[in-house]
Symmetry: C2
Subunit: 183 residues, 2 copies
Amino acid sequence: MFEVEVKYRVPSHDRIKDNLKSLNAKFLEHTEETDIYFNSPVRDFAKTDEALRVRVYGDGTVVLTYKGPRIGSVGKTREELSVTVNDLDSLLEILRRLGFKEVARVVKRRDIYNYENFTIYMDTVEGLGSFVEVETMVNNKELINKATEEVLQLGDRMGLRRDWIERRTYLELVLEKQGVNKP
Amino acid sequence: MFEVEVKYRVPSHDRIKDNLKSLNAKFLEHTEETDIYFNSPVRDFAKTDEALRVRVYGDGTVVLTYKGPRIGSVGKTREELSVTVNDLDSLLEILRRLGFKEVARVVKRRDIYNYENFTIYMDTVEGLGSFVEVETMVNNKELINKATEEVLQLGDRMGLRRDWIERRTYLELVLEKQGVNKP
């Protein structure tokens, strides 16, 4: 499965939420997520545009995710592989023993909405501010461009300006803030 | 936690099982396990005496385990870190993407018994034959020698000859059979 996703940096969530209500989008849930990112001992994921992430949800659920390089031009489409894991501390220790190094933590609160085939995330990221992500899934690379266009059109209807699009990941934004710039 | 374990290669399980019954050891369960071993892209686990294993139980449970180097002289005591994972295929694919290479599969049927603080595994390993493992857990390195002696004494009472002790892992034995010898 490929995640087709466009992210916008927004001044505030208020007006976007009103627009979502007008579209009759359905509020799904509020989550709090802490993302712990690791770098590989064999290649620099910042250069290969990969990511290895341990996500901890507010309810304690732990998910390990590998993300392949972004393959879209506008959005941040990637191939994702995830597993749910039963023990955070053991997982972190296994990753360290295998040579993976923790590079950053991203802490965010999200309100999640559903509209047709789309998932909309209203994100507040610690130290970074407010964002909106509009996402859909496709099971075939050839559908990515069409899906990206649909995501952008929904963004327009939600009042998301195209010059607000932020192609960098939260991880990259956090690392830039820490003064660790991509080469 | 440290696993203190001694493994014996046995001609047959029959007499050992009779001895276990005389000791009033408790039969716990029968399991079937497929172990998939991976090597690291940064160091050769055969040389560093580490192991990364994905174990699949007969009921579909998937456990990822990192094992540190053996630290006892007689037994095969190691530090172990394990997590249960919800999706075998995704886990295998994540490991491959991270650069880990599958080196061997070990398929075994085990009858598991409990006696006092000990766990006894009567193993039949595909292509290798019959084995018995006697195991206990300690939470402190300083207790390893004492626990190893207790394990050996229980082995004596079960009729396990000390010259049957097999210090190599099933993985090593499978690799040797495949003609891939340790340097």
